[in-house]
Amino acid sequence: MIEWTDRAIVLSARPHGEDAVVASLLTADHGRHGGVVRGGQGRKLRATLEPGTLVQAHWKARLEDHLGALSLETLAGVAGLVLSDRDRLAALASSCALVDVVLPERAPHPEVFDSLLALLDSLAHGESQGEDDLAWAGTLARWELDLLAAVGFGLDLSRCAITGKTEGLSHVSPRTGRAVCREAAEPWLSRLLPLPTFLLQPEGCPRDGGEVVQALALSGHFLETSPLVPPGKTLPAARRRLVDRVARWATISRVP
């Protein structure tokens, strides 16, 4: 019997038979991992299996490549804290769905686990007030870029791909993922992706909804065009809903 115990974040759970679910978890040391949770449709485990819940997971199977059985114990629930907040709930659903689609199974990504945990923590604490509180949206946008980097499709925002300058970076090439400074970008503005300035600062916060839209469009472009999303599939509907929601604030804030 092969088994391990690890901390994990619940990404999704789909019904399996009458009382079990097949759960998808992002573990700290074992990557994205699935398993059958017996009694997962029952009252006791339903809250544990909500996306975003931090659990202590014990997995065991007879052979390494078997789906295996999971037993879970809740360490911290996030969903209950954000259910009434439309924006943060959309961000929670989007981030968990994105990891579920993008990360390969059983490949350890401890840095993604840590960054998702930090993101969920920032979502769980505080009330979103649309454009009045954009710190969490900045964390989310930066987390998506970190996710791309973790799976080998990171953007190079350190210097201009054409001039080598580190100042005045304003756009990103949609083909190479490298930053371009304002003067070098001028002739190709319509073809380049805008780079919101807050992404260049480690703790930067977006100035308005428009910057969040730009940041999500930037990460969305590279997520969609990378081979991370299986052929014939698109980014999760939960992410589209999040982008729509943020785009709505941005539109509202522009109305005089």
């Binding site: 259910l83 439309r86 709930l89």
Partner: protein, 197 residues
Amino acid sequence: MSGGEIDRLILLLSRLPGLGPRSARRTALHMLKKREGVMRPLMEALAQVAEKVRACSICGNLDTSDPCMVCADPRRDPALICVVRDVADLWALERAGAFRGRYHVLGGLLSALDGIGPDDLGLDRLEIRARDGGLSEVILALPATVDGQTTAHVIADRLEPLGITLSGLAQGVPVGGELDYLDDGTLTAAFRARRPV
């Protein structure tokens, strides 16, 4: 052991929720022993239900008449609509007797995993009902889960421009519940929704 007809009956029964092959065998045997008292009335009831029950064209409830008894009842308040996930939730609210308005059954929740989008839930139908006028409040009685509340927020986004009051069910300590046994999310929700005593 037995003829093919009995095996088929057992197979069909074993596909019902809550029944496995063993309990299906017991059920089949029970029905065979009580043909007149159990089996024939059950057959007739099944045939009648299969023949007559339809989804209500207004709310999606299951009933033998269209519009259903709830929509056709003049004593119910037409200015209130309670949105529920499925008919089981409607029955639960009716059992509790807590609501005297009308319903709207979605038939599911938005779910990325199952590929259920707003078009699959008949949200257009709900919007048309809301636009028809005369509504004062829409109560979103959807599960306190990520999928349930995501669905509630999408509905709220659609209906807000119509100027109708939108409300959701409270979350908190259940009747008979002890704080020590509640999960963190429920406790936090209960604290946020505290009220003067």
